[in-house]
C-alpha cells in the first residue's frame, strides 16, 4: 500500500476531523427540538407558513405552474413531487426538527421547519 501518512497529514486530517465531529455534535444537540410549522420560501420570498399539526398537501405554484407539492403528514413535511430533473428534494427524508430544510434548487423552493409561537398566528390567517 502506497498510502503512508506523515506527521503533517495526520495533524491536518486529525484537526479537521475533530472540528467536523465537534460541529456535528453541537448541531445535533442544537437542532433536537421538534418544530411546529413549516415555512416555505420561493426565491427568498415568503410563500406561506403551514402548521405541522394539520395534515395537508401544499401545492407550490410558480407562475402558472405547480412546481412542487409538499405534504404534511404525521407532523412531518416531505416533498411529494417536483418538476425539476434531478428530484433531489424528493429523495430527501421528511423533516420535522427545527431548522431542518428541504431545498429544491432549480425552483429555488425552500421548506424550512420553524418553532412554536409564530405557527399559531399563521394557522389562523
Amino acid at each position: 500500500m502506497a498510502v503512508q501518512f506523515q506527521k503533517n497529514d495526520k495533524l491536518l486530517l486529525g484537526t479537521v476531523l475533530l472540528v467536523l465531529l465537534a460541529g456535528m455534535a453541537w448541531f445535533s444537540f442544537l437542532g433536537r427540538e421538534t418544530g411546529a410549522s413549516v415555512k416555505v420560501t420561493v426565491n427568498g420570498q415568503l410563500y406561506g407558513t403551514y402548521s405541522l399539526k394539520q395534515d395537508q398537501e401544499i401545492k407550490i405554484i410558480i407562475g402558472e405552474k405547480v412546481t412542487n407539492v409538499l405534504r404534511i403528514q404525521d407532523q412531518k413535511a416531505d416533498m411529494l413531487t417536483a418538476d425539476c430533473p434531478d428530484k433531489l428534494c424528493m429523495h430527501q427524508k421528511a423533516i420535522y426538527r427545527q431548522n431542518e430544510t428541504i431545498v429544491c434548487l432549480p425552483n429555488k423552493v425552500v421548506a424550512e421547519i420553524i418553532g412554536g409561537e409564530e405557527a399559531e398566528l399563521d394557522s389562523i390567517t
Binding site: 497529514d9 427568498g44 430527501q92 431548522n99 431545498v103
Partner: protein
Amino acid sequence: MKRKTAYLGMFLALALICSYVESLIPFYFGIPGVKLGLTNIVVVVMLYEIGAKEAFCISMLRILLAGFLFGNPFSILYSLSGGLLSFFVMLALKHTKKFQIVTISVMGGIFHNIGQLCAASVVVENYNLFYYAPMLLIAGFITGFLIGILAVEMTARLKGLLHK
C-alpha cells in the same frame, strides 16, 4: 511530454465518463448533494502528473460539458463554485509540499462541498442551509479520502506511461 493534446483530450474524456457514471449511481444519504466525486480522481492525478494549468482547464471544461450533457444550468453553477474552490485549495496545499495526495484529496472534497453550499445558500437566499454543513463536510471528508486512495494508486501506475 509528447502528444500533449491527445493526452489532455483523453483526460477530458475520462473526466466526462466519471461524471456520467456518477450520474447513474443513485447515491442518496438523506442529505442533498452528497456525491462520490469520481471526477476528482482525474483532477488530482492531473495536478500531480501533468500540471496545475492543465488540470484546471480540464476540470472547468468537464464541469461545463457534463452540465450541458447530464445536468442543467443550476448544476453547472453548483459544480463550478465547488470545483473552483476545491481546485484552488488543493493547489495551495500542494504548493506547500508538506502533504500527501490523500490529504489534499480530502481537503478538496471538503472544500468542494463548502463551495456548493455557499452557492446554494446564495441562490435560494436562505442561510439555514448551513444546518447541513457538518454532515456535508464529513461526507466530503470520507469521499475525499476514498478518492485520494484511488488517486495515489493511479498516479503510481500512470507514472511510467505519462512520462515517456
